[in-house]
Symmetry: D3
Subunit: 72 residues, 6 copies
């Protein structure tokens, strides 16, 4: 189902750099143009259905209620 | 309680750009050195206890299980 | 940014039935064709930017790691 | 511990259709009476302790802060 | 809907100590018998429907995928 | 990156009691001084990088928006 826009305020566009595949979930590392690495853990079924492989252009999405803040 | 390191793989260091305060939760926007805006929603009590105000140096943290991946 | 597909396995298509607006977050109730109500809490900023108002066609999305299971 | 009611507003009653078991987490697909599939990822330990197997009557639960909204 | 058991491995039984009510979400502090305070943010609608008021006996529930680990 | 303080209101200090390792994520059980067990699921990469092994002193962290409340 194609989506026009989504409420998720944190969107990191980049390329898949690495996929560590597991039987149920996989770790997907996305590298942005600025060299930032964003790590995601999603179901392995989704990795296969979406054809997520190194080099693929993707967006990593994070809902703002899931973001914590720490001070230095 | 001071923390040495945390499992959270996504750490975005930056300065607080804006705080939208609510009675229970507040929205905090953090701007990284590279100009990326990361938006968080945390309790207003924590905003006050941590002294989170515009200009403050902070880290926005996101657990990898909370990151979704979309294709273009 | 338009999205082709997303890893999120739980997608509930429906119409916005009600929005309870708060200063920072808002509650959005979505009613599916089958009469199911899915409730979301997202930032009020996103509600306005996406034009989320009663009657609008939307998709409610839930990452599978966020779903718990209970027995009766 | 038996629970009378829970704050979680999204409750999907159905039968377990499939379990994909992993060493630490497992994917559980629940099919509602209306034919909707809700996918969950929970610890494998919980799957065993709760006796979650295909055919079992369960409720899939989603906290509203975990629900995103997209427009078409 | 009464629940027999739930996959959520972290269950903290206690009494509601304080409720900070907001227009959409409310903060609920639960104090366990051991004096531990567990803080939750849930929809205000649920607070009212479940009759969550100071002194009420409740269980605070946390899915294990939502727990981070830090070292000292 | 060392952290001074974090917005996360639920902090459970204790010792790692058990680690169930998987190819992508691992389950980590933390036992507090009061005998409470808090279960976490984090990436296996983080378990190794942080040296999370039985006996290690750690803090389990839970953001308040991730805590649900049930009545008995």
């Amino acid at each position: 189902m194609s989506i026009n826009a989504i409420n998720v305020r944190n969107q990191f566009r980049g390329k898949v750099r690495e996929v560590i595949e597991g039987p149920v979930v996989s770790e997907v590392d996305v590298e942005t143009a600025g060299g930032l690495i964003v790590t995601s853990v999603i179901t392995t079924r989704s990795v296969k259905e979406l054809g997520i492989v190194p080099g693929k252009e993707v967006i990593a999405l994070v809902k703002s209620t899931e973001v914590s803040i720490a001070t230095l």
